[in-house]
Amino acid sequence: MSLDEYTRREFKQVGTRVRRPDGVDKVTGRAMYGADATAPGMLVGRILRSPHAHARVKGIDTSAAEALKGVKAIITGADLPAQEDEFIRDVQDNCMARDKALYDGHAVAAVAATDAATAKAALKLIKVDYEVLPHVTDVDAAIQPGAPVVQSGRTLENVPAGMSENVTSHSEFGHGDPAEGFARADMILERSYRTAATHQGYIEPHACLASYASDGKADLWCCTQGQFNVRTLCAAIMEMEASQLRVTASEIGGGFGGKTTVFIEPVALALSRKAGRPVKIVMTRDEVFRATGPTVHTSTDVKIGMTKDGRITAAEATLRYSGGAFPCGTVDMGAQAAFAAYDLDHVRTYGWNVMTNRPKEAAYRAPGAPQSIYAVEATLDELCQHFGLDPLDVRLKNAAKKGTKSSYGPTFPDIGLTATLEAAKAHPHYSAPLKDGQGRGISCGFWFNFGGNTCVSLNVNTDGTVGITEGNPDIGGSRASISLMAAEELGIPYDRIRTIVADTSSLGYNDVTDGSRVTFAVGLATIKAARDAIGKMCGRAARIWGIDPEAVEWKDGATVPAGPNAGKFPPMTLAEIAAVSAETGGPIAGHHEVNADGAGVSFGVHIVDVEVDRDTGATKVLRYTVFQDAGKAVHPSYVEGQMQGGAVQGIGWALNEEYIYGKDGRLQNPGFLDYRVPVASDLPPIDAVILEIPNPGHPYGVRGVGETGIVPPLAAITNAVCRSAGVRLHELPMSPPRVLKALAG
């Protein structure tokens, strides 16, 4: 890990709340989203989807559809290549079924036609011969021997014989000897929990425009969290060289992890290649729910031993996650994260992935962590209630700190958990009186955070402004943060900088906008690109002044002689150096490329007050406060936005959001009417308290903040509901019928 990046400094611009560069475009409708791309001669693409949860596709007759006037191309799984690589094959098979439809909504064919009505009519003319197979949509049912098998031959060697073939992998993390630790406990509590699959719920449906030329070059415009990853996946599926496929990311109307893969993009490319014309596909909301990634749904057993003064003596968890119809590694992250907040001598987590006839999981904010940490934090709360201990004190007593060997292996460097817990304890919210019938809950949260491959170019324009070219779609205000960091480093005003998100032909490879990585990694690369440009500008000034480049320094946006011995020259500002760059060696640009390490883990603590209506089971969230370590908040409003947004999505998950499957294996609620994300009037004001414990791995101390915020709400609300209603629920969502039933006993 690079833990020597950070140096303490006084910030002039970082930490201010500047105006976001994409704000006017977004509020005036000028912003170009995925569905806004058009091309001459463009066709409309539509996808035919399986109405069955599980069915063998015995044959597809497209002849009648092909004969329809205006239909220009039809593809099925047979039009895509056989893939050797298992990961690519799963992505491809999820975009277009090959032999079996694996879930309700799985794509089986696609049409490109001159208009939407023709495309729709053509879908009705495609005849699919299905052999309907038994299905299984629940993780606990799918793990049973004898359950219908979703896919055969996908089980890894570490899964013991005799289990269902739906079980694809097993993982184990931890240290110490739990049996020894449990022996020292005054109380051992074992509980089981279930969480429903939830969808990321981004407002913008997936949309793309593909144009494949007769010479084998192609362009793709799409809404995505990672155009380079789209290029990698689509180039593999289309058997193209990366250089021949240029992918441009649109503005994005929400992603939350769900736009880190492809669904319609390879289909549009294949249709375009076949039709010889550009093809646009825009998903309906129904398609988004049925065929794009929700989270895993889970079933978890937790066992925690505690002394009567609140010290955890041992902890274990067994996690059963299902990421739908394909093998999925999310359970490993859940198993690693489960006890990460605590300094434990004896801890063990076990993860099992189980396939079900549901859509392929896609990442959703801190994938895997909310579910496992929910189970742990709810169990801890019950132990606190049992011993009559303050839940924050118990967490403080057990909190991981610098030097703690984490439950997933690494030893923590400087982390902010204790400071975050102390801030929560000192906050007026924690001591505010509650009325009868109200309850207060708390929970910790954790996420690893990520750095990754990053490439930034910084161009100094001759008028003294700066353009930054980066490769990560802006899903949370990152362009403003990147401009701010460049402004800080260069010593020029924020509004002289414009940051753009480049296409895949304009820049080296950038990892997806995920893992809370962008402000950290792209910020780091931007600062270093600025330093690169500064070095070059010092060289130009040295040349003008006729002194050694080493004798020139950068101070407050200008070159100055390094000391009295360097000579006496008036400072040259960035604008002055840029204006004469043609005479001093040509354009000035800085670059930085890195596979960034040292992202720095992130902890959060949430406090929530609720009131349960005992007659209807409805939970009203009254007050909510989020505490989170941001390392350094580059743009505090966006950091607060991430913290509040995570809380909102967690509130939805805790109370109402769920994928509901019928006995027929079909999704019952593929729309925002019955898949209930919270609306504004469901929410209280959410206070965000930012802590700044600098991350040693970033020049300004930045930690990612995008994901941790969705982790604590699940348990915090569960714990608050318990303290309000007097009954504890062990399943999410805590929808009113479930709460009312629990109240009835």
Binding site: D615, Q668, S681, L740
Partner: protein, 287 residues
């Protein structure tokens, strides 16, 4: 698909009656346009009734109000006299959809959509409101309660159009209230709902009552057994408990993604009890 903007109710009725294919009436369009867009219906004829004279106005009549079939929720909500006379009807209607939807949605459309969860229907039933229907052969007046027959179905015959809804006069010390249960706070469909309309005598005793429940049966149901529990009382706890039990007994809901049979049944009684207390207070009753 053909589109006709009818200039008279008779023209609309004639066009609908003579259409051999599938037809739909367009008022606010908040159901029809969504169904069209989702591909749920593919009508051959759409008849827009918004240009029919008087169909977008509220007029005083016989101490009550006649509400044109194309009056939106937003327009009705701005009518102080109507809101004072029938606050439960106004609040039920205005719970439908969002602010944007309120600018278009109509009570007649909500009724004709035939949903047992329609928010404007229970208070209309509790109010003994009457729909005026124009057909090819003339007009007829039908109590609201007699219009829905099941999810998506009504007693309207081919060619018939609701042109207005009449809300009757009522004495002093009378009021109504409507409550629904939704898992969210807005933008949702009732899992269960209840409307209560009360008239009090000068002493605060309930002289007459109507109770109607939504989303707990194939149609909105008027529960006379529940209403009779309230008559002659001052809404004491025992009367309210008996009324809630009568409501529960009248429930025949479905189990679905929006709620269980058990939950809908229980909640209907809770909502009726709460709505009764609100209506009672509005009518000037004090407890």
């Amino acid at each position: 698909m053909r589109y006709l903007a009818a200039n008279t109710a008779h023209e609309a009725a004639e066009a609908l009656a003579s259409e051999p294919g599938l037809s739909r009436i367009l008022a606010g369009g908040t159901d029809v346009l969504v169904q069209l867009k989702a591909g749920m219906v593919e009508p051959d004829l759409v008849v827009d009734i918004k240009r029919i004279p008087g169909i977008r106005t509220i007029s005083a009549e016989a101490g009550g109000f006649r509400v044109g079939a194309a009056v939106s929720g937003a327009e009705l909500g701005e009518h102080a006299g109507l809101c004072a006379l029938w606050p439960g009807i106004a609040e039920g209607f205005q719970l439908i959809g969002s602010t944007q939807v309120q600018g278009r949605a109509t009570m007649a459309g909500n009724l004709c959509n035939g949903s047992p969860a329609a928010d404007s229907v229970p208070p209309l039933v509790a109010a003994n409101a009457v729909a005026r229907i124009t057909g090819p052969d003339g007009d007829r007046d039908v109590p609201i309660a007699d219009i829905p027959t099941g999810p998506g179905r009504t007693t309207l015959k081919k060619g018939e159009v609701i042109t207005s809804i009449f809300l009757p006069a009522r004495p002093d010390r009378a009021a109504d209230a409507y409550l629904r249960f939704i898992p969210r706070t807005e933008m949702d469909i009732a899992v269960a709902s209840a409307a209560v309309s009360l008239e009090l005598d000068p002493s605060g005793t309930v002289r007459s009552a109507r109770v109607a429940l939504g989303a707990v049966a194939p149609t909105v149901v008027a529960v006379e057994a529940a209403a009779s529990c309230l008559i002659g009382t001052s809404l004491d706890d025992e009367a309210l408990a008996r009324m809630a039990a009568a409501c529960e007994a009248a429930c025949a809901p479905i189990d679905d993604k929006r709620g269980t049979i058990e939950f809908r049944t229980r909640t209907a009684g809770v909502l009726a009890r709460r709505a009764a207390l609100i209506a009672y207070a509005r009518a000037g009753g004090s407890k």
